[in-house]
Subunit: 113 residues, 3 copies
């Protein structure tokens, strides 16, 4: 399991309540990342946010507590991240995906030693 | 509602307890972003941190639980992000704002279809 | 306390349960950052994730709730961040550290005025 020194950070902004085949979309994305052998994934839950659907519902423009934003982050090689972004394209109906280059200063696993 | 493929990520690091006109600063920033028609905003709350005021209070250098750090993130065009950063300049007495270019791989809203 | 306009963002992805000299690794990293006079640090806890050790334990591939991912973020000058990354190298047995350039649009402290 390696990540090149010049890697790519992928960030996915979706809602906690978004679903994929009746399971939470964020969990489905993490599972898809694992199946593809991505180096790792981290899901963080926000406490407030707006975007996406909320545009249509001015009264509810701040996302309700049952649909708080979540951010999923993955770091891997540019190639693996690009391929994974293609897969996400079929899963996300409502959300934002960004990519940016990152320098990997350290990537280490207990199990590799 | 569009974000160009080459967008900008704005990140605001402040304290949960910071106020703006007697409301939480992070909520005021989210509301200001919505009023400006920014594409979205996500607020995440940290579990520990230091910075800013804490420098003066060595005994309390780790932020107390009632003033945990919050991070607000917005992605939009460079122009909209720059204009919004100007507005933030008048709201933040104590904090950090960073900008970085990001590639927008996907931006999709249910309501746009 | 200054950060140059062109700063560096350091991000550390570890597990909440990771230890350093019998204290939580994330707390040890925040303390080390403070001792070095870094401008600040923010620790965020994830709600789900995988990576690192989890590769070896397919059944537990999603991190257990007692070892959720944490992300530590610091922004400072490229020089200070690089030096701090060297220190982290001796502390992290299992994790990921990334660096990326960021534009510092605002850095302000109440106490500086």
């Amino acid at each position: 399991m390696k990540i090149p020194e010049e890697g790519t950070l992928l960030r996915v902004f979706i809602g906690e309540a978004d679903k994929w085949q009746s399971k939470p979309l964020y969990a489905a994305i993490v599972e898809a990342a694992r199946k593809r052998g991505m180096a790792g994934a981290t899901v963080t839950k926000g406490i407030m946010g707006f975007g996406r659907k909320s545009r249509m519902h001015a009264a509810n423009i701040l996302r309700l507590s049952e649909d708080l934003p979540v951010v999923i982050e993955l770091v891997d090689s540019a190639e693996k991240i690009s391929a994974f972004a293609q897969e996400l394209d079929g899963m996300i109906k409502d959300g934002l995906v960004t990519m940016e280059p990152v320098h990997v200063a350290l990537y280490r696993s207990d199990t590799a030693r």
